[in-house]
């Protein structure tokens, strides 16, 4: 993961930027555990939406949640890495692997409020040098019904 040269201030927070095809999205760095190289995805039958299977890392079983289906649609390019994030289930913390398509970047930035036309899983926007990046609320995203008509992304809204 590449650290960004941007300077942190009292108003900025730390984010991990991750690519899915041509777009990048952001997760708050607090919930990101690591970026992992590809591992063998193992599958077994289940009925939970977005879950693609599990990885075994250091003897632990980590569910893989393919959020690209919601964020960029079904034609997302091949995912090369796993961004491993922490989810909370009651009092239990659990790791979840999110497939991403390239290297991630650690950055400090100020969060701007989302526009009302964005999907509810977008909790804010980052205005970086030449792009607007959506900050994703992972729990809202995973619960999001991807069968609903997709709202425009931040770049489409601002265009």
């Amino acid at each position: 993961m590449t650290p960004s040269p941007r300077v942190s201030t009292a108003h900025t927070r730390q984010f991990v930027l991750f690519p899915l095809g041509k777009k990048r999205f952001a997760l708050t760095a607090d919930i990101v555990a690591e970026l992992a190289r590809p591992d063998r995805l193992q599958k077994f039958p289940h009925t939970t939406r977005l879950l693609a299977g599990v990885l075994v890392r250091r003897g632990h079983i980590i569910p893989v949640c393919d959020v690209a289906q919601v964020l960029v649609g079904t034609d997302a390019p091949a995912r090369k890495f796993y961004l491993i994030a922490t989810r909370r289930f009651g009092r239990t913390l659990e790791l979840t692997a999110l497939p991403v398509t390239g290297e991630c970047e650690l950055t400090h930035a100020e969060v701007l409020p989302p526009t009302s036309r964005l999907p509810e899983y977008v909790e804010g926007l980052l205005s970086l040098d030449d792009e607007i990046v959506e900050v994703i609320d992972l729990e809202t995203l995973i619960a999001y019904d991807s069968t609903r008509p997709r709202k425009k992304s931040a770049s489409e809204v601002t265009a």
Binding site: A29, R40, F44, P45, H46, T48, I61, C65
Partner: protein, 171 residues
């Protein structure tokens, strides 16, 4: 780059070594505790009740078999797990149950060291289907089935009704 790694290990639900039978359904391998299987048979002597269960909530039960005057209801594992392309060739008769399970093949018996709880991220029907996950070797994950989920009490009542209809039609 490691940022923040909480202690988010899988909970171990059972530590003692346990013998499990590995069986295949379509491309998937599952494990069932060996002590929960009474007998493994081929498909001879099955009697179809598919006509009577087809449009019911127990469509996954397509046949019965009689052993020692007791009727067992044979659950198609492929339909139970919502898998396509299953071609059953063996039936596992479950111990202390009225259910038997039709599976594609029986692989082997192995011992598992730990039964890991299913990650909380899984919240669908799989929470009922599986007792947990086990690691075979260093990194092969296998789902350990909950044998009681193949035929619930309400499903048993329903399929017994279908079977009575089938018997009535045969007289």
């Amino acid at each position: 780059m490691k940022l923040n790694r909480p202690d988010a290990r899988n909970a171990v639900t059972r530590r003692a070594t346990e013998a499990v039978i590995l069986f295949a359904v379509g491309p998937n391998t599952f494990a069932i505790p060996a002590k929960e299987v009474d007998e493994i048979r081929d498909l001879h002597e099955l009697r179809s009740i598919a006509h009577y269960t087809a449009r019911t909530e127990v469509a996954k039960v397509k046949s019965t078999l009689v052993r020692e005057r007791k009727t067992y209801f044979v659950v198609e594992a492929g339909q139970h797990f919502r898998l396509e392309g299953s071609k059953p060739s063996r039936v596992m008769i479950l111990r202390n149950s009225r259910a038997a399970v039709a599976v594609d093949s029986i692989d082997r018996i192995v011992e598992i060291q730990h039964l890991l709880s299913l990650p909380h991220a899984f919240h669908g029907e799989e929470r009922r289907w599986y007792r947990g996950l086990a690691l075979l070797g260093d990194d092969n994950v296998v789902a350990v089935v909950d044998s009681t989920a193949f035929l619930s009490a309400s499903e048993l009542t329903l399929v017994q009704g279908c079977n009575r209809l089938a018997k009535g039609a045969a007289v």
